[in-house]
Symmetry: C2
Subunit: 339 residues, 2 copies
């Protein structure tokens, strides 16, 4: 087993044990807390929590200093997914029906709110271990991170409601910086460094590393939706195409397609989702292949992963060797290799 | 002008000025921050913020100690309303289309999340004035309050999805304690006392007062939906009946109605909202009159208001006379008199 998988398993397990304390069944159970526990219990890679713990330890924090923050991260991740699934009208998540599909929009929105509050509680509980000063810094960091996420989500929702068809790679990368990178890679790194330093660190130096790593991660995620194994991926293959998601591949196709094709694409995207046919989805998928959109996105992900490796080397140059440091160094390759 | 109206106007204005700082237009504007600013700018009674400021001052806090908390309260109030409107599929709010009606469910859910985050920011910003220790206490209070609200919301949503028709007054009052009282009256009182005492106060003693006052407020609100002036009330008259909302009046009617009527009511409530006719709504409204449901609810609201006055006298017995104290003492009558 690689160092990445080993550490993901170990820190993931540590986080899950602590997470379970925040997800204990209580009333109202059937209409709230069983829904709150649903997504966190569907599993997941525990990338965010593990990166947070590893960063804190690599910089010299006590072993468990970042544990509550790791728990909060996984809870917030689930909260985002619940509301995202409502907003995207998604039907499958990790191989099972989404909360909105199984319990309706109302219960899902409310459960997402409860998940976010549970994350807030996990963060506030840091006060017993870390004291009020550092806990408030963490909360300010979490507020910034969550704000970036909702702004990124607003940009992406805006593209769909405006039926945007003239986007460039930079638009995509800026959206991903906000929607994915801040909570997946930037915040976990910042929190780790904050905890290790006790508050006297320049946290902005993690933005570039987190951006390169998180963007490579997201592009790979989008690619897996086209080429992945449905049973392992847990979502419908080509679901992003059917959803009209502005991936790097679709943005590239819209730019490269000839006038007829572009008009056909625009009509497809303008129609409500249930009216988009399998045949059209297959045609778009095939056009992406013809125009080299998939290969191009893969190359961009590789470039970003290389840039993340380079940033990582600079950030961690003076940091003593450790399993945690090696885990962080391995992530740029890991995000590309996962299937 | 009465002391209540004077003080609501004065503290409301003070809060609005500070609130505006948190609602300044920024990007993404059209798809997020213009929606975030919408509900807070539709006006409102500023009851929660004024009660919070008045309680802090009555107990001897500095004039502006509670201002950030008051701002956070109004923001959270708007956040709850935005998600409630999505969950209830409501169409009108304060005389204008709801966010979900005008911008769609996806944008409304996301804007509600952003509003909650803005409230969190306002609370975290307390650290500059109040220091980290008291700020963390405030955040723990806010987390508790918001949790009570989502639990109350889950109970109410559960009644609708289960089509509950065997509820008692106690069920209603427990739901209202969670969904309305915690954020409308209990939390503002607790925060005021917390700030004035610097943290060494028994905050649970405000639960009874807040419950009686908040429940009287909510029942009056439900009554206004039946008998109010639509242009001032801002919502469709009898909208609660059409929505199937389990008010004290509907709960009483379901209990008192004869077998035929009860079965007719159950059928009405089981149907999707668009299939409920005006004629049926009028029939239910008329049955409520026949069975004295409206008068009975009014009497219960009066009883609760009296109990709130009694609790208030005990809570504030040793507190020096002040405009703030008189305002708080006037609230039990005020919540019944507003139209």
């Amino acid at each position: 087993m690689s160092v990445s998988d080993q550490l993901l398993q170990e820190y993931g397990q540590r986080t899950r044990v602590e997470l379970a304390r925040y997800l204990q069944p209580r009333e109202p159970r059937r209409h709230l807390y069983s829904l709150v526990a649903d997504y966190p219990q569907r599993g997941g890679r525990m990338l965010r929590s593990s990166l947070c713990i590893a960063t804190a330890r690599a910089f010299g924090a006590e072993p468990d200093d970042a544990l509550q923050s790791a728990v909060a991260l996984e809870l917030l991740h689930s909260a985002f997914l619940v509301h995202d699934d409502v907003e995207d009208e998604s039907e499958m998540r990790r191989g099972l029906p989404t909360l909105n599909a199984s319990c309706g929009v109302a219960a899902a929105v409310n459960a997402g709110d409860a998940l976010a509050l549970t994350a807030l509680r996990a963060l506030v509980d840091n006060r017993w271990k870390l004291g009020p000063r550092l806990t408030i810094r963490l909360l300010a960091e979490a507020e910034r991170m969550a704000r970036e996420s909702v702004e990124g989500q607003a940009v992406e929702l805006g593209w769909r409601s405006d039926n945007a068809t003239h986007l460039g790679d930079a638009d995509y990368l800026e959206m991903v910086l906000k929607k994915t990178c801040w909570y997946t890679t930037i915040f976990p790194s910042r929190v780790g460094a904050l905890l290790a330093s006790g508050g006297d660190d320049d946290l902005d130096r993690f933005i570039r590393f987190g951006f390169f790593l998180g963007a490579a991660f997201q592009i790979q995620d989008d690619l897996l939706n086209l080429v992945g194994d449905e049973s392992r991926y847990g979502k419908e293959i080509n679901g992003d195409i059917r959803e009209g998601k502005r991936t790097l591949m679709l943005i590239h196709l819209l730019r490269e397609a000839d006038a007829d094709e572009r008009s056909r694409l625009r009509t497809f995207l303008a129609r409500p989702r249930p009216e988009r046919t399998d045949k059209e989805v297959r045609w778009i998928r095939e056009r992406m292949e013809t125009y080299g959109c998939v290969d191009r996105a893969r190359r961009i992900a590789y470039g970003l992963s290389g840039a993340a490796e380079h940033e990582c080397a600079t950030l961690y140059a003076g940091v003593p060797d450790s399993r945690d440091k090696r885990f962080i160094e391995s992530l740029p390759m890991w995000v590309l290799s996962r299937l």
